[in-house]
């Protein structure tokens, strides 16, 4: 999902910066507010950020014969709502742009929109939807992480489709071409990210149940109803 440095026309690069900046500023405020008002959630917030940091660094093989990396943004979106992920993803993407020449400073706005805004919001929407239908928490977490990951790659495809329309088939054709590079490769990775997310979430409910209850991620339960 990293659009390479310089690989968006100037106008597009500026436009994506303009779109993403308010989300990132709002996200930075949300992070500060959370750590100030609830010092208890600092460790959990650090865990969510670290999860994204690790997952976005690991390139994994896919069924299509190419390799790609997960994003890990769905977990933080489920725990702390999506705004914090706009900020945390920006930290990750700046690190990769500066040290790894992966992604870039000029394409940062577009990449932040795909990974830090679109992905987390889609994941969060799926999470809320599954909660409303009273699906099991594990199912909700799995779907949230999987869809956050897939949405990020679809948005990247759309961004590239907009920037480089196909001479014959236009933007839609170009989008389809980029989606064919990204989307199918991403399916097994997104599923894997969902499974890993469920494992981490189960670990967190083990070690941080009071924090998760306060955040409203898991419902408050009477002690005798909690399975141990």
């Amino acid at each position: 999902m990293h659009i390479a440095e310089g690989f968006l026309p100037v106008g597009h690069a500026i436009a994506w910066f303009a779109v993403s900046t308010p989300f990132v500023v709002h996200g930075a405020r949300a992070v500060m507010k959370e750590t100030r008002e609830n010092p208890e959630s600092r460790l959990l917030l650090a865990a969510a950020g670290a999860f994204t940091f690790v997952l976005s660094s690991i390139k994994l093989p896919s069924v299509t014969g190419s390799s790609s990396h997960p994003t890990g943004t769905g977990l933080g979106a489920v725990l702390f709502r999506p705004p914090v992920m706009a900020f945390l993803s920006t930290v990750v993407l700046v690190f990769q742009a500066l040290l790894l020449a992966h992604g870039g400073l000029t394409t940062l706005g577009a990449n932040v929109f795909a990974m830090g805004i679109a992905g987390p919001w889609v994941g969060y929407a799926v999470w809320r939807f599954s909660q409303r239908l009273r699906w099991h928490t594990n199912v909700g977490v799995f779907l949230a992480l999987t869809f956050a990951d897939l949405a990020t790659y679809l948005v990247t495809s759309a961004q590239l489709g907009l920037a480089f329309p196909d001479p014959a088939s236009g933007m839609v054709g170009s989008l389809a071409k980029f989606a064919s590079i990204f989307a199918i490769s991403q399916v097994p990775l997104a599923l894997a990210e969902g499974i890993l997310g469920v494992l981490v979430f189960r670990l967190l409910t083990e070690v941080a149940l009071p924090q998760l209850e306060r955040l409203g991620v898991v419902g408050k339960r009477e002690p005798e109803l909690v399975e141990v």
Partner: protein
């Protein structure tokens, strides 16, 4: 189902998913272009379809070789892993302690969370 059984099954599913990806992905491609990154594939697609496009900005710093690059990726994973471990370790140490801001409600959770886990 026991909690630990579910966790083991999830871990097995995770490994199986990658084993299948690896075998299927490997069988479908030539050895030379096997498992290239989708990000670089997208860049090649742009270059192919738009030969007149000239990237207008280059990375300020570029790892000089694949080895250095993978080392820096490992550094990123290492930092993330260390922070994740620290955070979970910290939470683990605090397990069962009531939250500062909601003492009364959190107190009802204490009997559960202080129970030793197998």
């Amino acid at each position: 189902m026991k909690k630990s059984t579910t966790n083991v099954l999830l871990a097995v599913a995770l490994v199986a998913l990658f084993a299948v990806s690896f075998i299927v992905g490997g069988a479908r491609t030539d050895p030379e272009e096997r498992f290239t990154g989708t990000d670089s594939a997208a860049t090649s697609q742009i270059e192919e379809a738009n030969p007149e496009y000239v990237p207008w900005f280059a990375p300020l710093f570029q790892p000089e070789s694949g080895e250095i690059e993978s080392g820096l990726f490992a550094l990123q994973a290492g930092i993330g892993g260390a922070v994740l471990g620290f955070a979970i370790g910290g939470l683990w140490g605090r397990r069962g302690a009531p939250l500062r801001d909601s003492g009364a409600k959190a107190a009802s959770i204490v009997p559960v969370t202080t129970e030793p886990t197998p």
